[in-house]
Symmetry: C2
Subunit: 399 residues, 2 copies
C-alpha cells in the first residue's frame, strides 16, 4: 500500500535518540546532550525593562502584522553590527529576519533543492540542517573534514562524483557538533572551489562570537573570490533562543526568493520579538553580555577538557574547541556510543551519540558533548561517571 | 538556461498587487486592502501585566529552547477552550503549537503533497493557502461555492476529474475572502464526500469566534462521519497577530508527521510568546475581549454595508457576511478590479482585486473589502470614493 503522505516523508523519521534524551529533563540528570545556552546568563532584568518600554513607546504597532522582510530598524541594527564585526558592507535591505536560523536552513533548502540535487557538507554536520534539507529530498555528500576544516582536495574529489551539486552547507566557526574551526587558508580554498563549480555556499554562523582563544577567523561572507554566500545568524546563542529570531543575508535575487518562500511559510517573524530585541540592542550593551557568556563558557570548556584528560580511558580522543558549545569525542573502533548512552543514562548522564550527525550513517563510535549548560562541578562529576562507562566498554571484548 | 533555483519556484512570484498595496501604509490612505485586526482593541495594558508576570514567575525558562510540540499548559488551555466552544473532545496532546496558522498550511502541504497531487478548495480561496501549498507543486482544483458554502454536487464533479486528490482545503466560517459561511447541511455533505473519497480535510478557522449574527455553525472537526479533519486555529484575530501563535489539531499519525516537519522548519514556536499567551488566558477574560472585538467589527460591517448600498452603482453585487473581517464584491463582467484599484489609489483608497484568490486565474471583476481596520466614518468616506471610481468604470464602454 502506498503511503498517503508525501514521498519526502519517507526519509524523515523521529529520532530514537531524541526519545532517549527526553528523560534528560529530569533534574538529577547531568546532561551534555542538548545544545542549550546557560539560562542563568539570560538578561532577564534588562528584558523586563525592554518589554515595558516597547509597549509604552510603540503600542499596538508591536502587536500587529508586519512585513515578511522584518522590522527595518532591526535589519539596520543587524547590518551595522555584522559590518563592524565581520568587515562586510551589508545594508539593511540585505537582511531577512527569520524565525531562528533554523528557518534560514528550511528557506534555502526550499529555494534551491529539487529531488536528488546534491548538498555537500562537512562530515559530521549539524543535525538540524540535515533535517531541514532532507524535506527537499537531496543527496547528501559528506566531505571529509579535519581539525582545520573542510579539506579542499576532498571537496574537489566529492564534486567529481556529483551530478547536480547545488549547495555547500558549512559551519566554519566552532562547529556543531565537532567544535572545529576552519583555518583562513581553508576558507579561501573552499570558497575558490565553490566559485569555480557554481555552488551556493550556506555559511551557518551561530557561534562565531563565542570565541575563547585568539580571534574568530574572517567569515566566508566577508572574503573576496566571487562565490555566492548566504550567511545565517541568530540571537539564540548571544541573547536567548526562546524568542526565535535569526537572520539570513543573501544577494538580491536569492534574498527575494527566500522572502517569497518565507511569506508562505509563516508570513513573518514575531513583530513583538523584533521590537523587543531592537530595544534591547539600543538600550543595553550586548557585547558586554556576550563577553560575560564567553567567560563562563570558557571555564566550562576548560573544566570539561580537564575532566576528559583524567577520566576518559586511553584510545578515546577528542577535539579542543576554541569556542562554541560543543566538543567531539571518538571512541575506539567498534565501541558503540549508543550502547554507552544507554549505560550512561542508568547513571543519570546524557550526551548525543555522533552517528546522527552523519547524513549517510556510520561513525557509531563518536559522540558530542555540550559544555555550556552545566556548572563546572557538575561537568566534572558527569564526565567522571561517563568515563567509568567508557572504561567498562573499552575494556570489554568487542561484540 | 535552466534556473539555479528549485522547480517549485517557477510557479511562485511576488504579487504585483502586494507591491501596489505597499503605499497603503501611508496614513492618508483609507485601506480596505489588508486583513488587519483593529489595533486599538489589542489588550496592551493586560499584556504589560502578563509580560512582567511571566518573567517574574518563570524566569529564564520562558527564554530557553523548548519542545517542538509546544508548551504543555498552553496546549491544555487550547484543548479545553476548543472543547467548550466546538463540543470536541481534544486532549492537550492533540494540539501542535504553530507559528501562526499560516505555518499550519505550510506543514500540511509539506506532509501531504507530492508534485501534481490535487488540492481541492473553495473558489475563491485564501491567498495565503495558495502561496503555502504552491511550494509543493500541487494542482489546484477550484470547487464552485455559493452563499451556503462549497456545493457538494460540484465537489463530486470536480473529484471525477482528479487523478490524485489529496487535500480539501476549506474556510467554512466567514471565509477569507468571500465572507461566506457554510450551512450545516453543506458541512455534512462535504464531509461525507471527503470520507468516501479519502480526502484529508484542512479546516482553517481563524474567524469562527468573530460572529455578529446568530451563532457559528458546528466545526467540521466536531461532526461525525469518519472524514479525516485537520483543524487550524490562531490567536491572531482574537488576541493579536504580531506574536505569531496558532495551532493545529490532527489525528495522531498526521500530528506526528507535522511535528517532525515543524522541527526542521523552525525547531519550535517562540517559548516566550507561548508563556505570555498562557498567562493572559489564565489571568484575563479572553471571551470578554472577543465580545468587545465583535461589537466593534459588527458596527464596521454595518457601516460598510450601508455605504455600499448608497454608493456602489447598479450592476455591482456583494456578500453580507455574518462575521469575520471581509466582504466580497462582484463588478459587472468586463470591468477590471485591477483598473479600479489603480484609480482608487489615486484617491487614496485601497482594496485587493479578487483575481489573486483564484489559484487558476480569472475573475478579474471581483474584489475583497476588509472592514475591521477602519473606523466607521473612514469606511463611509472610503466607500464613497470607491463608489465614484466604480461609477466611472461601469459607465465607460468596456475595453
Amino acid at each position: 500500500m502506498t503511503s498517503r503522505f508525501a514521498r519526502r516523508l519517507d526519509g524523515m523519521k523521529a529520532s530514537e535518540i531524541r526519545e532517549l534524551l527526553k528523560i534528560t529533563q529530569r533534574p538529577e540528570v547531568i546532561s551534555f546532550g542538548g545544545g542549550l545556552p546557560a539560562p542563568e546568563l539570560f538578561p532577564i532584568e534588562d528584558l523586563k525593562v525592554v518589554m515595558a518600554d516597547v509597549l509604552d513607546r510603540e503600542g499596538p504597532r508591536a502587536l500587529q502584522y508586519s512585513t515578511t522582510e522584518g522590522h527595518p530598524g532591526l535589519r539596520e541594527a543587524i547590518a551595522r553590527r555584522l559590518n563592524s564585526q565581520l568587515g562586510t558592507a551589508f545594508e539593511a535591505s540585505d537582511i531577512l529576519i527569520t524565525s531562528g536560523s533554523q528557518q534560514g536552513l528550511d528557506l534555502t533548502g526550499k529555494v534551491f533543492l529539487d529531488d536528488d540535487d546534491e548538498v555537500l557538507c562537512e562530515s559530521p554536520t549539524y543535525l538540524g540542517a540535515i533535517n531541514a534539507f532532507r524535506a527537499y529530498r537531496p543527496r547528501f555528500v559528506e566531505v571529509p573534514t579535519d581539525d582545520d576544516g573542510m579539506v579542499p582536495a576532498e571537496l574537489e574529489r566529492s564534486l567529481a562524483g556529483c551530478r547536480r551539486p547545488k549547495l555547500l552547507y558549512v559551519v566554519p566557526n566552532f562547529q556543531n557538533p565537532s567544535g572545529r574551526t576552519w583555518s583562513l587558508e581553508r576558507r579561501h580554498a573552499v570558497l575558490d572551489a565553490a566559485a569555480r563549480h557554481g555552488l551556493v555556499v550556506i555559511e551557518d554562523d551561530p557561534y562565531g562570537q563565542l570565541c575563547y582563544e585568539g580571534t574568530t577567523p574572517p567569515a566566508l561572507a566577508s572574503l573576496p573570490g566571487g562565490a555566492t554566500v548566504i550567511y545565517l545568524g541568530t540571537f539564540s546563542k548571544i541573547f536567548c533562543p526562546g524568542m526565535r529570531v535569526g537572520w539570513l543575508v543573501a544577494p538580491r535575487e536569492i534574498y527575494e526568493k527566500c522572502a517569497l518562500v518565507k511569506q508562505g511559510a509563516d508570513l513573518h517573524t514575531s513583530t513583538l520579538a523584533q521590537y523587543q530585541i531592537l530595544a534591547y540592542l539600543e538600550r543595553f550593551d550586548i557585547d558586554a553580555s556576550v563577553a560575560r557568556i564567553c567567560k563562563v563558557y570558557r571555564r566550562r570548556r576548560d573544566a570539561m577538557l580537564r575532566a576528559l584528560e583524567s577520566e576518559f580511558p586511553p584510545g578515546v580522543s577528542w577535539t579542543r574547541p576554541r569556542g562554541g558549545l560543543f566538543l567531539w569525542a571518538t571512541l575506539p573502533e567498534g565501541v558503540s556510543a549508543r550502547e554507552a548512552l544507554v549505560r550512561a543514562l542508568e547513571r543519570n548522564v546524557a550526551f548525543v551519540p555522533g552517528g546522527s550527525f552523519f547524513p549517510n550513517g556510520g561513525h557509531e563510535n563518536t559522540l558530542r558533548l555540550n559544555f555550556s549548560n552545566m556548572p563546572e562541578e557538575r561537568i566534572a562529576e558527569g564526565i567522571a561517571r561517563l568515563g567509568a562507562v567508557l572504561r567498562e566498554l573499552c575494556a570489554a571484548p568487542a561484540g
